[in-house]
Point group: C2
Chain length 406, copies 2
């Protein structure tokens, strides 16, 4: 029996960040940059007005006030999108819109609210300081400056900055393509009624959802029978498209555990008992020339989802260039609001309901119990040395992926 940390350590040592790909900005959302990006243009690209108002020579308005406005002729209108480089002579003004280029010679903008809004001539009721309501070219970003570093996660603000600074395609670490492959003669497709001895293949649907929730691109291969040849063929076919493969089922101590039977022979996949509950039988290794990581998760649904959170999600994050949340960052502290039994010598992942920073078991804790799993929003991590959780104990919790909406 090996510890959870040992198994995870072996996985994280084996997985590699995926090679960078080039991508459009919106496709790159949620990915991290594979390299530093420099601005190819300055921002703002040209000196422009921060307000709708009038471009002026500040010196012309000395002493202007509410009661004693300065009146100047309006010699032009400058809209945003005006591409003519204009020049403002002293003693004149031009009406200017937010974002429109400041004319040469002008050094301040008087907001329209501080004027009579005139079109041919305008009464200006305030004396601006030099530079007031003016955005200087390059004051936000200088051309050639590094605007985002390798490893930066691309969200709305980041894609906006990239676009504005002249970058429409970026090199990013792609989202891992994950094949989820469920095995077992007992499986029937969701929507079909299971006969006696059969169960609906809910695991592959669940793991696809989980892979998506952690930012991967999943592909589902449901219900591969417990047959060595068919499983081998399915694995070989999927190796073509996969950055990682997750199987579920067929890894226990049984006589019909095909995943274990097939992958044990390959020699690069190792099967272990991990000191955890649920989720004890685990396998991990790499397959094929591309050394594609394969995670063989147990077939019990709760075991499978717990294993996904503890072992697969950290590996997929590392492959996507986001290794920082592996273990235990991402865990949140909480206080037990109830007492419950645990198992000594194994790390227990109790399915719990979070109420603020207090947690209580979500219901029945059997590894087949989907009812409690679906009611839970976190896993409380009960260390191997604890045989029981007492009310008031401090625990670390692992929030379940996809249970909190943005």
């Amino acid at each position: 029996m090996i510890s959870v940390e040992e198994h995870l350590g072996r996985i994280l040592q084996a997985v590699r960040q995926l090679p960078p790909t080039e991508s459009g900005l919106l496709e790159a959302q949620g990915c991290v940059l594979a390299e530093d990006v420099t601005a190819s243009v300055q921002l703002p690209g040209f000196t422009n007005s921060a307000m709708d108002g009038y471009a002026v020579h500040a010196a012309d308005l000395e002493g202007a006030s509410e009661d004693d406005p300065v009146v100047l002729p309006v010699v032009a209108d400058i809209a945003a999108g005006n591409t003519n480089a204009l020049t403002l002579a002293p003693g004149q003004t031009m009406r200017i819109m937010t974002g429109a280029p400041l004319p040469q010679g002008a050094d301040a903008v008087v907001p329209v609210e501080l004027t009579d809004g005139g079109v041919a001539k305008v009464a200006l009721h305030a004396a601006p300081a030099v530079g007031q309501h003016v955005r200087e070219a390059g004051e936000d970003v200088r051309a050639g400056e590094v605007i985002l570093r390798a490893g930066a996660l691309l969200g709305p603000g980041q894609v906006a900055l990239l676009a504005a600074a002249g970058t429409a395609r970026v090199r990013v670490v792609p989202k891992p393509r994950v094949v989820v492959l469920s095995t077992g003669d007992e499986l029937v497709e969701p929507g079909r009624e299971p006969g006696f001895g059969q169960v609906v293949d809910s695991n592959s649907v669940m793991l696809v959802a989980a892979a998506r929730a952690v930012g991967a691109t999943p592909h589902r291969v449901g219900g591969v029978p417990d047959d060595a040849r068919q499983l081998t063929e399915a694995l070989e076919a999927q190796l073509q498209r996969a950055d990682a493969i997750i199987t579920t089922g067929g890894v226990s101590m049984g006589a019909f555990d095909t995943v274990k039977e097939v992958l044990s022979k390959v020699g690069t996949v190792q099967f272990d008992k991990v000191a955890m509950r649920p989720g004890m039988p685990q396998g991990f290794g790499v397959l094929g020339a591309a050394q594609v990581p394969v995670f063989t998760l147990p077939g019990n649904p709760v075991s499978a989802l717990v294993s996904f959170h503890v072992f697969v999600a950290p590996a997929l994050r590392a492959m996507a260039g986001r290794p920082e949340k592996a273990w235990p960052p991402g865990f949140v502290p909480a206080t037990a609001a109830a007492s419950w039994p645990s198992v000594e010598g194994k790390m227990e992942f109790t399915r719990v309901v979070l109420d603020g920073d207090r947690v209580r078991p979500a219901g029945g804790q059997g590894s087949h119990m989907l009812g409690a799993l679906a009611a839970a929003d976190a896993l409380a991590v009960v260390p191997p040395e604890m045989a029981r959780v007492e009310e008031g104990d401090e625990l670390l919790c692992l929030p379940l992926l996809g249970t909190d909406a943005p």
Copy 2:
């Protein structure tokens, strides 16, 4: 000038939860259920083994121990997926795999680890209690039981439960289809080099990313010129597909603010100055027979993204059946790690970097400054009555969408 709460209140009063649609389980991920779902089958569907081992009559093994095993004949192998209803006579045993149906008459399972693993006969080294390692039919979920309530968010565990309990299609509140429409003669497409007076249309890319990050399905319409007829046509065309429309630009005090010009005439869209910085000029209303909400955001990029977080995201959540995060839930408390000026009489949204629960400004706070926006991971909410934030002040922060990876 109206308050932030007033403008948001008007928006939340006008938007409606979208009508339910039927959807497959994986398409429904991230949506909330529109109705209660009951189990059409019980879970487990049949009494089965929780372990790989041997099905027995517990009474046959009384007194069995490590030193004094009971040896029984093995009369059958029961794999998971075995669809025959078998019966176990007293004095016999059957080899059984995890999840396989327990034979009639058997009332316990001895795990293979507590046996010699025999095939024709087996030495059983433990005396199980009645019911040990047996999963009773229906112990997780009873047929007809409500398994998930209307309003439940569908994550991995929930779709697994739905699938297992016999539901492959569900009625959910769909993800809002959001059209993002940027306006302005000055805009050029991302990837094109802007000439003098032009800027890259980064806003529509940013708002599409933001809409996606809040769980909506966005569609981008970039760079509509400042022309009333073209804008009207674009709006009319997009009304066909949109559950909501977001425009950016053209709502200020200027002479060329086409969005304001066009939508003011419609009469159902109201333009206000909102006491906030950035983001003062705001418009909101409904368009067309379907009363599609339209949000007219300012054109300054920082103003647009702040407005999205403060006004649009809560509305999209409400439309998606997730109204609970509107205002201020979702905010996180933080302590100012620096002092910075604010503006009295307006709610200020300072772009800040979170370091644990301490925040400091991310850089230049101009409403055009994308550099600082892309460096920030939250907006610190500085109330209108504060003219300055002092180090140590407690503030509420609104995490920026899409800046934290799952």
